[in-house]
């Protein structure tokens, strides 16, 4: 893939992952990740047309629990690590950007 194309791809992916990258990081990562992704292409050598994907290593099924309420942590414990609490809610900055 073209270096320039990949940088665009990188920007898009970083946005999807909500990660801010500095221009230096963008440069560095573009190079490193391109390298790694090329290495991944190796997998295409194998014929897997008749193979089922494996999402779970243990062949377990129907693991569930009864519908019974259990006490857990107190509200205080739930808030202990919170960056900002107001009126018993987790405060977050405005969701929409301010219009210019």
């Amino acid at each position: 893939m073209e270096r320039r194309d990949f940088k665009e791809q990188l920007k898009k992916t970083a946005h999807l992952a909500r990660l801010h990258l500095t221009p230096e990081e963008e440069e560095l990562f573009a190079k490193q990740l391109q390298n790694i992704l090329d290495y991944f292409k190796k997998l295409q050598e194998l014929d897997t047309s008749n193979v089922e994907p494996m999402a779970h290593v243990l062949p377990l099924y129907n693991i569930w629990r009864e519908d019974e309420v259990k006490e857990s942590i107190s509200q205080e414990e739930a808030f202990k690590n919170a960056p900002e609490i107001e009126d018993l809610g987790f405060k977050i900055p405005r969701i929409m950007k301010r219009e210019e």
Binding site: Q9, L10, T13, A14, L16, A17, R18, L19, H20, L21, T22, E25, L28, F29, Q32, L33, N35, I36, L37, Y39, F40, K42, L43, Q44, E45, L46, T48, V51, E52, P53, M54, A55, H56, V57, L58, L60, I63, R65, I73, E77, A78, K80, N81, A82, P83, E84, F90, I92, P93, R94, I95, M96, K97, R98
Partner: protein
């Protein structure tokens, strides 16, 4: 500088009490920490509390008064747990991981939280936000990762046993690099509840120790079904100590040609030559086997683990806990800045890789393909274990390398895990045993066995340790050497 058996004897003979034993280890920690930085946090107050609580418990508990160090990606209630990341720098968990609960119930003393590669992503312990851990055998070299701290502390004698986690070799590699024993159990044997998830289908918690017996004792406590973990095995666990000492004559050991010679350094091969002689003395038969799909293990691992990680780490968003960038004025900026500043480079790299591998247009070629090849790898192991009881390989292709040596080329770093990764993909158990030294640097040998046969694996490792025993060989404090 003792095994569990020896510590228990001390208590039985009333040679010292728990406080004194713990203090002797804290002394050791004070001595070594300036050189190796294995610990991120020693909870002195909590230790005192734990010792006090132990007074009302039975001295017959299997881990009574045994100090144990815990990797800092395993949650300990009210004791800071950071995953060696800025994003969780001040995180105080409101609950204990299941393994921690079980250790405490059985009398263990949590002596400290150890350093790791941030979020367990790394092979050298250089990716910690709080400085690297050094190898006690040579403080200019890495201890291996990601459980570098847990391995180093047992290696230096700062604790008799410790817990680490292994996703692609993160217990076995540092065990090999620091000359101690490290076990990765079968996937699902040990509960993951309270282990900060890196790659959910690969992660397992496991013990470090100096003798196979200590590994077995610890495993006995932490293994077994946990209703809080839907992927935890529902089966009864055997007695892991029962087989220790029994004969392994005529057991079949498989040597996969893909894991020996190609890509393994001369030094490692030379050091491990000795082990073939040992196998003869043990009375086992050696058979060459072939696992051709192992050639593809690395890309499979890095696609699956980064994909799962990219999803598992999405929760670190500055809303409910952890670091938040308060300068951001709107939500999306807050997310991006918090995660951009809070995560280190390797973590960001892997999140991007994983996000990419799962994204529209790439899912089939990367993630889906990888999970199919994963099945092929697993099938190959299943077939192999029909022919052999144990599979042996070097744990690492190289000697412990110098700090900074591999850090600038991620792919080079990833290649360090080439022997250990297939094990996690298949889900089978594996142990790294100290096998020798090259220029005073430890070299480990890896033994694998089939699913849920840890009892057999430990029996074999125990037999091996009768011939190759470094349990009493400790590194010396660097300043002492200079004299």
């Amino acid at each position: 500088m003792r095994t569990l058996r020896e510590i228990k004897k001390i208590y039985e003979n009333k040679e010292a009490n728990v406080k004194e034993v713990v203090e002797s280890y804290l002394e050791k920690i004070k001595e070594w920490e300036p050189y190796i930085n294995a610990f991120l946090h020693i909870p002195y107050e909590d230790i005192e509390k734990q010792i006090k609580e132990l007074e009302s418990k039975s001295p017959n508990l299997p881990l009574y008064g045994i100090p144990i160090a815990i990797k800092d990606n395993i949650l300990t209630k009210n004791i800071k747990t950071t995953c060696a990341s800025k994003i969780l720098e001040n995180f105080i968990p409101p609950y204990d991981a299941t393994v921690v609960k079980r250790l405490k119930e059985n009398g263990a003393i949590i002596i400290g939280k150890t350093n790791l590669d941030e979020f367990a992503m790394g092979s050298s312990c250089e990716n910690s936000a709080f400085g690297p851990t050094k190898n006690p055998w040579d403080i200019e070299r890495v201890p291996g990762g990601s459980s570098g701290g847990s391995a180093a502390c047992v290696s230096a004698g700062e604790a008799p046993i410790s817990l680490g986690s292994d996703t692609g070799g993160s217990i076995r590699l540092p065990a090999s690099f620091t000359g101690v024993i490290g076990l990765k159990p079968t996937y699902g044997l040990v509960s993951r509840f309270g282990l900060v998830a890196f790659a959910s289908s690969l992660d397992q918690i496991g013990p470090f120790g100096r003798t196979v017996e200590d590994i077995a004792i610890t495993l006995q406590i932490i293994a077994g079904h946990d209703p809080m973990d839907s992927t935890s095995s529902p089966y009864e666990i055997p007695n892991y100590l029962e087989g220790l000492g029994k004969s392994v004559k005529n057991w079949r050991v498989g040597i996969p040609k893909e894991l020996w010679y190609k890509g393994v350094s001369e030094e490692v091969l030379k050091t491990l030559e000795n082990s073939f002689g040992v196998f003869k003395e043990m009375g086992v038969t050696i058979e060459e086997i072939s696992l051709p799909s192992l050639e593809y293990a690395l890309p499979v691992y890095y696609i699956i683990s980064t994909s799962e990680a990219s999803s598992n780490l999405a929760r670190y968003d500055g809303v409910k806990y952890g670091y938040r960038d308060f300068t951001a004025e709107d939500l999306i900026s807050m997310y991006k800045q918090t995660r951009g500043k809070g995560f280190g480079s390797e973590v960001k790299r892997r999140i991007i890789l994983g996000t990419y591998a799962l994204s529209a247009g790439y899912y089939d070629a990367y993630y889906l393909k990888a999970t199919k090849v994963r099945r092929l790898i697993r099938i190959e192991f299943e077939e192999a274990f029909k022919k052999v009881d144990i599979i042996a390989s070097p744990t690492s292709p190289v000697l412990p390398f110098k700090l900074g040596e591999r850090i600038s080329d991620p792919l080079q770093m990833y290649l360090t895990d080439i022997m250990t990764i297939p094990v996690n993909l298949a889900g089978i158990p594996a142990i790294s045993m100290p096998a020798g030294f090259y220029n005073n640097l430890p070299v480990g040998i890896q033994f694998m066995s089939s699913f849920f046969t840890e009892d057999k694996l430990l029996q074999f490792a125990y037999a091996y340790q009768q011939f190759v025993d470094f349990s009493k060989k400790y590194p010396t404090l660097p300043n002492k050497e200079r004299v």
